[in-house]
Protein backbone atom coordinates (compact mmCIF):
# COMPACT_ATOMS: atom_id res chain seq x y z
CA UNK A 1 0.00 0.00 0.00
CA UNK A 2 1.59 3.19 -1.15
CA UNK A 3 0.86 6.41 0.66
CA UNK A 4 -1.34 8.81 -1.25
CA UNK A 5 0.48 10.93 -3.73
CA UNK A 6 0.30 14.68 -3.88
CA UNK A 7 1.11 16.37 -7.14
CA UNK A 8 2.42 19.92 -7.10
CA UNK A 9 2.89 21.61 -10.43
CA UNK A 10 5.35 24.42 -10.76
CA UNK A 11 5.03 26.99 -13.54
CA UNK A 12 8.45 26.27 -15.07
CA UNK A 13 9.77 23.03 -13.66
CA UNK A 14 8.20 19.67 -14.34
CA UNK A 15 5.66 18.63 -11.75
CA UNK A 16 7.12 17.18 -8.57
CA UNK A 17 5.42 14.25 -6.95
CA UNK A 18 6.07 13.52 -3.30
CA UNK A 19 4.20 10.96 -1.23
CA UNK A 20 2.29 12.19 1.81
CA UNK A 21 3.75 10.74 5.00
CA UNK A 22 2.13 10.15 8.36
CA UNK A 23 5.28 11.30 10.16
CA UNK A 24 9.05 10.78 10.33
CA UNK A 25 8.75 7.03 10.92
CA UNK A 26 6.54 6.68 7.86
CA UNK A 27 9.05 8.62 5.76
CA UNK A 28 11.97 6.53 7.07
CA UNK A 29 10.14 3.29 6.38
CA UNK A 30 9.46 4.50 2.84
CA UNK A 31 13.15 5.29 2.29
CA UNK A 32 14.29 1.93 3.69
CA UNK A 33 11.84 0.09 1.44
CA UNK A 34 13.04 2.03 -1.59
CA UNK A 35 16.54 0.77 -0.78
CA UNK A 36 15.09 -2.77 -0.80
CA UNK A 37 16.88 -3.69 2.41
CA UNK A 38 15.65 -5.04 5.72
CA UNK A 39 15.13 -2.49 8.47
CA UNK A 40 17.64 -4.53 10.52
CA UNK A 41 20.35 -3.61 8.03
CA UNK A 42 19.87 0.09 7.36
CA UNK A 43 22.60 1.83 5.34
CA UNK A 44 22.38 4.73 7.77
CA UNK A 45 24.58 7.24 5.93
CA UNK A 46 22.57 6.96 2.73
CA UNK A 47 19.20 6.94 4.46
CA UNK A 48 20.22 9.96 6.52
CA UNK A 49 21.10 11.93 3.37
CA UNK A 50 17.88 10.88 1.65
CA UNK A 51 15.87 11.87 4.70
CA UNK A 52 17.39 15.36 4.69
CA UNK A 53 16.82 15.59 0.95
CA UNK A 54 13.14 14.68 1.44
CA UNK A 55 12.78 17.39 4.10
CA UNK A 56 14.39 19.91 1.76
CA UNK A 57 11.92 18.99 -0.98
CA UNK A 58 9.00 19.24 1.41
CA UNK A 59 10.10 22.74 2.35
CA UNK A 60 10.50 23.61 -1.31
CA UNK A 61 6.93 22.50 -1.94
CA UNK A 62 5.82 24.67 0.98
CA UNK A 63 4.49 21.64 2.81
CA UNK A 64 4.40 22.19 6.51
CA UNK A 65 7.28 20.25 8.04
CA UNK A 66 6.27 19.32 11.57
CA UNK A 67 8.75 19.51 14.44
CA UNK A 68 8.82 15.73 14.77
CA UNK A 69 10.57 15.46 11.39
CA UNK A 70 13.35 17.75 12.59
CA UNK A 71 13.80 15.74 15.80
CA UNK A 72 14.36 12.61 13.72
CA UNK A 73 16.68 14.49 11.34
CA UNK A 74 18.90 15.40 14.28
CA UNK A 75 18.73 11.87 15.63
CA UNK A 76 19.75 10.39 12.27
CA UNK A 77 22.74 12.73 12.11
CA UNK A 78 23.75 11.67 15.60
CA UNK A 79 23.60 7.98 14.68
CA UNK A 80 25.54 8.64 11.49
CA UNK A 81 28.32 10.45 13.36
CA UNK A 82 28.50 7.73 16.03
CA UNK A 83 28.97 5.09 13.35
CA UNK A 84 31.87 7.05 11.89
CA UNK A 85 33.67 7.17 15.24
CA UNK A 86 35.76 4.19 16.29
CA UNK A 87 33.91 2.06 18.85
CA UNK A 88 35.16 2.12 22.40
CA UNK A 89 36.27 -1.03 24.14
CA UNK A 90 33.30 -2.93 25.54
CA UNK A 91 30.75 -0.83 23.67
CA UNK A 92 28.84 -3.49 21.80
CA UNK A 93 25.55 -1.79 21.11
CA UNK A 94 24.84 -0.77 17.54
CA UNK A 95 23.88 2.95 17.55
CA UNK A 96 21.11 2.10 15.07
CA UNK A 97 19.39 -0.35 17.42
CA UNK A 98 16.86 1.98 19.01
CA UNK A 99 15.85 3.45 15.65
CA UNK A 100 15.47 -0.02 14.16
CA UNK A 101 13.30 -1.14 17.07
CA UNK A 102 11.03 1.85 16.64
CA UNK A 103 10.75 1.26 12.91
CA UNK A 104 9.88 -2.38 13.52
CA UNK A 105 7.13 -1.37 15.95
CA UNK A 106 5.81 1.23 13.55
CA UNK A 107 5.83 -1.28 10.72
CA UNK A 108 3.54 -3.44 12.85
CA UNK A 109 1.24 -0.45 13.50
CA UNK A 110 0.98 0.14 9.77
CA UNK A 111 0.26 -3.52 9.09
CA UNK A 112 -2.46 -3.52 11.76
CA UNK A 113 -3.94 -0.33 10.25
CA UNK A 114 -4.03 -2.05 6.86
CA UNK A 115 -5.84 -5.01 8.46
CA UNK A 116 -8.42 -2.64 9.96
CA UNK A 117 -8.85 -0.93 6.58
CA UNK A 118 -9.51 -4.37 5.09
CA UNK A 119 -12.14 -5.12 7.75
CA UNK A 120 -13.88 -1.81 7.09
CA UNK A 121 -13.88 -2.55 3.38
CA UNK A 122 -15.85 -5.74 4.07
CA UNK A 123 -18.40 -3.68 5.99
CA UNK A 124 -19.38 -1.43 3.11
CA UNK A 125 -23.11 -1.55 2.60
CA UNK A 126 -23.71 -3.18 5.98
CA UNK A 127 -26.12 -0.85 7.72
CA UNK A 128 -28.13 -1.31 10.88
CA UNK A 129 -31.83 -1.85 10.31
CA UNK A 130 -34.14 0.92 11.46
CA UNK A 131 -37.66 -0.22 11.99
CA UNK A 132 -40.63 2.07 12.32
CA UNK A 133 -40.94 1.74 16.08
CA UNK A 134 -40.60 4.92 18.08
CA UNK A 135 -38.19 4.72 21.01
CA UNK A 136 -39.86 4.74 24.45
CA UNK A 137 -38.89 8.36 24.97
CA UNK A 138 -37.72 10.91 22.45
CA UNK A 139 -34.50 11.25 24.38
CA UNK A 140 -31.15 9.98 23.19
CA UNK A 141 -29.91 7.25 25.45
CA UNK A 142 -26.32 6.16 25.80
CA UNK A 143 -25.08 2.66 26.26
CA UNK A 144 -23.69 2.63 29.81
CA UNK A 145 -20.82 0.45 28.64
CA UNK A 146 -19.53 3.22 26.39
CA UNK A 147 -20.24 6.15 28.72
CA UNK A 148 -16.80 7.28 29.85
CA UNK A 149 -15.41 10.01 32.09
CA UNK A 150 -15.07 12.32 29.09
CA UNK A 151 -18.79 12.05 28.39
CA UNK A 152 -19.31 12.82 32.06
CA UNK A 153 -17.11 15.92 32.12
CA UNK A 154 -18.62 17.10 28.87
CA UNK A 155 -22.07 16.80 30.42
CA UNK A 156 -20.94 18.94 33.35
CA UNK A 157 -19.60 21.55 30.96
CA UNK A 158 -22.97 21.59 29.18
CA UNK A 159 -24.80 22.05 32.50
CA UNK A 160 -22.53 24.89 33.59
CA UNK A 161 -22.74 26.64 30.22
CA UNK A 162 -26.52 26.42 30.24
CA UNK A 163 -26.62 27.63 33.84
CA UNK A 164 -24.46 30.62 32.97
CA UNK A 165 -26.72 31.41 30.01
CA UNK A 166 -29.82 31.28 32.20
CA UNK A 167 -28.20 33.15 35.10
CA UNK A 168 -25.90 35.79 33.61
CA UNK A 169 -23.67 37.33 36.28
CA UNK A 170 -25.11 40.62 37.53
CA UNK A 171 -23.10 43.80 36.94
CA UNK A 172 -21.03 44.56 40.02
CA UNK A 173 -21.17 48.27 40.97
CA UNK A 174 -18.30 49.67 42.93
CA UNK A 175 -19.27 52.03 45.76
CA UNK A 176 -18.64 55.67 44.81
CA UNK A 177 -15.49 56.78 46.59
CA UNK A 178 -14.67 59.96 44.67
CA UNK A 179 -17.03 62.67 43.51
CA UNK A 180 -16.45 64.90 40.49
CA UNK A 181 -17.57 67.94 42.49
CA UNK A 182 -14.91 67.30 45.13
CA UNK A 183 -12.25 66.84 42.45
CA UNK A 184 -13.27 70.06 40.62
CA UNK A 185 -12.70 72.01 43.79
CA UNK A 186 -9.40 70.23 44.39
CA UNK A 187 -8.15 70.85 40.82
CA UNK A 188 -9.31 74.49 40.88
CA UNK A 189 -7.30 75.05 44.02
CA UNK A 190 -4.24 73.40 42.43
CA UNK A 191 -4.30 75.46 39.18
CA UNK A 192 -4.90 78.69 41.09
CA UNK A 193 -1.75 78.09 43.10
CA UNK A 194 0.50 76.64 40.33
CA UNK A 195 -0.79 78.60 37.25
CA UNK A 196 0.43 75.82 34.89
CA UNK A 197 -0.51 72.50 36.36
CA UNK A 198 0.92 69.19 34.92
CA UNK A 199 -2.38 67.32 34.63
CA UNK A 200 -1.11 64.16 32.87
CA UNK A 201 1.60 63.42 35.46
CA UNK A 202 -0.91 63.99 38.18
CA UNK A 203 -3.42 61.57 36.60
CA UNK A 204 -0.81 58.88 35.97
CA UNK A 205 0.52 58.96 39.51
CA UNK A 206 -2.79 58.46 41.33
CA UNK A 207 -2.73 55.12 43.23
CA UNK A 208 -6.41 54.52 42.48
CA UNK A 209 -7.58 54.17 38.91
CA UNK A 210 -11.07 55.32 39.83
CA UNK A 211 -9.55 58.52 41.24
CA UNK A 212 -7.74 59.19 37.93
CA UNK A 213 -10.99 58.76 36.03
CA UNK A 214 -12.82 61.14 38.37
CA UNK A 215 -9.98 63.68 38.06
CA UNK A 216 -10.13 63.54 34.27
CA UNK A 217 -13.88 64.15 34.35
CA UNK A 218 -13.27 67.10 36.71
CA UNK A 219 -10.63 68.55 34.35
CA UNK A 220 -13.05 68.33 31.41
CA UNK A 221 -15.77 69.93 33.53
CA UNK A 222 -13.48 72.86 34.46
CA UNK A 223 -12.90 73.56 30.75
CA UNK A 224 -16.62 73.30 29.96
CA UNK A 225 -17.28 75.88 32.66
CA UNK A 226 -14.62 78.14 31.12
CA UNK A 227 -12.49 78.20 34.28
CA UNK A 228 -9.48 76.41 32.78
CA UNK A 229 -7.81 75.60 29.46
CA UNK A 230 -5.63 72.61 28.60
CA UNK A 231 -2.75 72.48 26.16
CA UNK A 232 -0.28 69.91 24.92
CA UNK A 233 2.70 70.68 22.65
CA UNK A 234 2.86 67.34 20.87
CA UNK A 235 1.17 63.95 21.15
CA UNK A 236 1.94 62.05 24.38
CA UNK A 237 3.63 65.10 25.92
CA UNK A 238 2.54 66.63 29.22
CA UNK A 239 -0.89 68.24 29.36
CA UNK A 240 -0.91 71.56 31.20
CA UNK A 241 -4.02 72.96 32.80
CA UNK A 242 -4.06 76.75 33.31
CA UNK A 243 -6.71 79.02 34.86
CA UNK A 244 -8.51 81.46 32.58
CA UNK A 245 -9.25 83.88 35.39
CA UNK A 246 -12.95 83.16 35.31
CA UNK A 247 -14.11 82.30 38.82
CA UNK A 248 -15.68 78.94 39.55
CA UNK A 249 -19.50 79.21 39.29
CA UNK A 250 -20.29 77.43 42.52
CA UNK A 251 -24.00 77.06 41.73
CA UNK A 252 -23.20 75.16 38.47
CA UNK A 253 -21.50 72.41 40.40
CA UNK A 254 -24.01 69.58 40.58
CA UNK A 255 -23.50 66.97 43.22
CA UNK A 256 -21.91 64.51 40.79
Amino acid sequence: MDPALVGVEGPVRPSVVLPVFEGPLDLLLHLVREEKVSIWDIPIARICDQYHEALRRMEELDLEVAGEYLVYAAWLLLIKSRLLLPRHEGEQKDPRLELVERLAEYEKVKAAAAELAGLVELRRGVERVRFAVPPPSGEIELDLEDVDVLALSRALRDVLERHLRDHPPTLQLEPIRFSVREKILELFELIRRQRSFPLLSHLLTRPDRLESVTLLLAALELQRLGTATAHQRRPFAEIYLTPTGTPLPMDALTDA
Binding site: R130, E139, L150, S153, R162
Partner: protein, 184 residues
Protein backbone atom coordinates in the same frame (compact mmCIF):
# COMPACT_ATOMS: atom_id res chain seq x y z
CA UNK B 1 -36.64 -16.85 -10.75
CA UNK B 2 -33.30 -15.66 -9.40
CA UNK B 3 -33.65 -12.21 -10.88
CA UNK B 4 -36.83 -11.43 -8.99
CA UNK B 5 -35.29 -12.75 -5.75
CA UNK B 6 -32.34 -10.40 -6.25
CA UNK B 7 -34.59 -7.43 -6.80
CA UNK B 8 -36.69 -8.44 -3.79
CA UNK B 9 -33.57 -8.59 -1.60
CA UNK B 10 -32.52 -5.13 -2.75
CA UNK B 11 -35.99 -3.76 -2.04
CA UNK B 12 -35.93 -5.33 1.42
CA UNK B 13 -32.49 -3.87 2.19
CA UNK B 14 -33.70 -0.38 1.26
CA UNK B 15 -36.88 -0.75 3.34
CA UNK B 16 -34.83 -2.06 6.29
CA UNK B 17 -32.73 1.12 6.53
CA UNK B 18 -35.49 3.53 5.51
CA UNK B 19 -37.60 3.32 8.67
CA UNK B 20 -40.30 5.46 7.10
CA UNK B 21 -42.63 4.21 4.34
CA UNK B 22 -41.01 4.22 0.88
CA UNK B 23 -43.09 4.81 -2.25
CA UNK B 24 -42.99 2.43 -5.22
CA UNK B 25 -41.72 5.35 -7.30
CA UNK B 26 -38.71 5.77 -5.02
CA UNK B 27 -37.98 2.04 -5.21
CA UNK B 28 -38.21 2.12 -9.01
CA UNK B 29 -35.73 5.01 -9.03
CA UNK B 30 -33.29 3.13 -6.77
CA UNK B 31 -33.63 -0.10 -8.80
CA UNK B 32 -32.12 1.72 -11.75
CA UNK B 33 -32.75 1.74 -15.46
CA UNK B 34 -34.65 -1.04 -17.17
CA UNK B 35 -36.59 -2.12 -14.10
CA UNK B 36 -40.29 -1.60 -14.59
CA UNK B 37 -42.76 -0.57 -11.97
CA UNK B 38 -44.67 -3.84 -12.30
CA UNK B 39 -41.46 -5.72 -11.61
CA UNK B 40 -40.84 -3.74 -8.41
CA UNK B 41 -44.41 -4.48 -7.31
CA UNK B 42 -43.76 -8.18 -7.91
CA UNK B 43 -40.62 -7.91 -5.77
CA UNK B 44 -42.63 -6.28 -2.97
CA UNK B 45 -45.12 -9.13 -3.15
CA UNK B 46 -42.20 -11.56 -2.96
CA UNK B 47 -40.90 -9.88 0.23
CA UNK B 48 -44.40 -9.76 1.70
CA UNK B 49 -45.13 -13.44 1.15
CA UNK B 50 -41.69 -14.49 2.40
CA UNK B 51 -42.48 -12.83 5.74
CA UNK B 52 -45.90 -14.47 5.93
CA UNK B 53 -44.17 -17.77 6.56
CA UNK B 54 -43.75 -19.16 10.06
CA UNK B 55 -40.79 -17.90 12.02
CA UNK B 56 -40.84 -14.30 10.80
CA UNK B 57 -41.29 -11.53 13.31
CA UNK B 58 -41.41 -8.98 10.53
CA UNK B 59 -44.11 -8.03 8.04
CA UNK B 60 -44.36 -5.75 5.06
CA UNK B 61 -47.11 -3.19 5.39
CA UNK B 62 -48.67 -0.62 3.10
CA UNK B 63 -49.10 2.72 4.90
CA UNK B 64 -49.24 6.38 3.99
CA UNK B 65 -48.86 5.72 0.28
CA UNK B 66 -45.72 3.66 0.73
CA UNK B 67 -44.31 0.39 1.97
CA UNK B 68 -42.47 -0.27 5.18
CA UNK B 69 -41.16 -3.14 7.25
CA UNK B 70 -42.65 -3.41 10.73
CA UNK B 71 -42.71 -5.93 13.54
CA UNK B 72 -45.74 -8.19 13.99
CA UNK B 73 -48.16 -6.98 16.62
CA UNK B 74 -48.01 -10.35 18.44
CA UNK B 75 -44.60 -9.40 19.80
CA UNK B 76 -45.51 -6.07 21.33
CA UNK B 77 -45.19 -7.52 24.83
CA UNK B 78 -41.72 -8.86 24.08
CA UNK B 79 -40.67 -5.52 22.58
CA UNK B 80 -41.81 -3.62 25.66
CA UNK B 81 -39.96 -6.12 27.81
CA UNK B 82 -36.82 -5.63 25.73
CA UNK B 83 -36.99 -1.83 25.79
CA UNK B 84 -37.29 -1.98 29.58
CA UNK B 85 -34.30 -4.31 29.75
CA UNK B 86 -32.28 -1.99 27.52
CA UNK B 87 -33.21 1.09 29.51
CA UNK B 88 -31.50 -0.46 32.53
CA UNK B 89 -28.23 -0.67 30.59
CA UNK B 90 -28.44 2.91 29.35
CA UNK B 91 -28.16 6.43 30.62
CA UNK B 92 -30.35 9.24 29.37
CA UNK B 93 -28.77 12.63 28.72
CA UNK B 94 -30.58 13.93 31.83
CA UNK B 95 -29.12 11.11 33.93
CA UNK B 96 -25.64 11.75 32.54
CA UNK B 97 -25.86 15.47 33.38
CA UNK B 98 -27.10 14.79 36.88
CA UNK B 99 -24.39 12.21 37.45
CA UNK B 100 -21.82 14.73 36.21
CA UNK B 101 -23.04 17.40 38.65
CA UNK B 102 -22.93 14.94 41.55
CA UNK B 103 -19.50 13.60 40.53
CA UNK B 104 -17.84 17.00 40.30
CA UNK B 105 -19.69 18.84 43.10
CA UNK B 106 -20.14 16.14 45.73
CA UNK B 107 -21.49 16.02 48.31
CA UNK B 108 -24.39 17.95 46.84
CA UNK B 109 -28.09 18.39 47.67
CA UNK B 110 -31.09 18.03 45.37
CA UNK B 111 -31.90 21.79 45.47
CA UNK B 112 -28.30 22.48 44.40
CA UNK B 113 -28.59 20.00 41.51
CA UNK B 114 -31.93 21.51 40.47
CA UNK B 115 -30.44 25.00 40.59
CA UNK B 116 -27.50 24.06 38.36
CA UNK B 117 -29.52 22.01 35.87
CA UNK B 118 -32.47 24.39 35.80
CA UNK B 119 -34.97 21.50 36.02
CA UNK B 120 -36.28 19.32 38.80
CA UNK B 121 -34.04 16.28 38.88
CA UNK B 122 -35.66 14.25 41.66
CA UNK B 123 -36.72 11.35 39.39
CA UNK B 124 -33.29 11.19 37.75
CA UNK B 125 -31.49 11.19 41.11
CA UNK B 126 -33.77 8.37 42.29
CA UNK B 127 -32.88 6.33 39.18
CA UNK B 128 -29.17 6.91 39.78
CA UNK B 129 -29.55 5.76 43.40
CA UNK B 130 -31.48 2.66 42.23
CA UNK B 131 -28.70 1.89 39.79
CA UNK B 132 -26.16 2.22 42.63
CA UNK B 133 -24.12 4.89 40.87
CA UNK B 134 -25.09 7.44 43.52
CA UNK B 135 -25.54 7.08 47.30
CA UNK B 136 -26.90 9.26 50.10
CA UNK B 137 -24.20 10.51 52.46
CA UNK B 138 -25.94 12.35 55.30
CA UNK B 139 -27.72 15.68 55.48
CA UNK B 140 -26.63 19.24 54.94
CA UNK B 141 -26.92 21.38 58.10
CA UNK B 142 -29.01 24.12 56.53
CA UNK B 143 -32.73 24.95 56.67
CA UNK B 144 -34.71 21.82 55.76
CA UNK B 145 -31.60 19.63 56.25
CA UNK B 146 -31.69 18.25 52.70
CA UNK B 147 -30.02 14.90 51.85
CA UNK B 148 -26.50 14.99 50.48
CA UNK B 149 -25.61 12.82 47.49
CA UNK B 150 -22.24 11.49 46.38
CA UNK B 151 -21.04 8.92 43.87
CA UNK B 152 -20.64 5.27 44.90
CA UNK B 153 -17.81 2.77 44.74
CA UNK B 154 -19.58 1.20 41.72
CA UNK B 155 -19.30 4.57 40.01
CA UNK B 156 -15.52 4.50 40.36
CA UNK B 157 -15.36 0.90 39.13
CA UNK B 158 -17.53 1.63 36.11
CA UNK B 159 -15.47 4.63 35.03
CA UNK B 160 -12.17 2.94 35.82
CA UNK B 161 -11.11 5.54 38.36
CA UNK B 162 -8.89 4.87 41.39
CA UNK B 163 -10.47 7.84 43.18
CA UNK B 164 -12.42 11.01 42.50
CA UNK B 165 -9.32 13.11 41.93
CA UNK B 166 -8.80 11.10 38.74
CA UNK B 167 -11.83 12.70 37.03
CA UNK B 168 -10.75 14.64 33.91
CA UNK B 169 -9.96 18.30 34.41
CA UNK B 170 -11.65 20.98 32.26
CA UNK B 171 -8.33 21.35 30.37
CA UNK B 172 -8.30 17.68 29.46
CA UNK B 173 -11.89 17.85 28.27
CA UNK B 174 -11.00 20.86 26.10
CA UNK B 175 -8.02 19.02 24.65
CA UNK B 176 -9.68 15.70 23.89
CA UNK B 177 -13.41 16.24 23.73
CA UNK B 178 -12.91 19.43 21.71
CA UNK B 179 -15.67 21.84 20.91
CA UNK B 180 -19.16 20.42 21.10
CA UNK B 181 -19.93 22.43 17.95
CA UNK B 182 -17.97 19.87 15.90
CA UNK B 183 -20.69 17.30 16.40
CA UNK B 184 -23.57 17.25 13.95
Amino acid sequence: MPELAGLAAMVEAVLAVAGDPVTVDALVAVAGEGVERARVEEALEFVRSRHEQAGSGIRLEHVAGGWRLATRSEYEGALREYLGYRARARLSQAALETLAVIAYRQPVTLPEINFLRGVNSVAVVRTLVERRLVVVSGRKQVVGTPLLYRTSKEFLVHFGLPDLSALPTPEEVEQIAGESAVEP
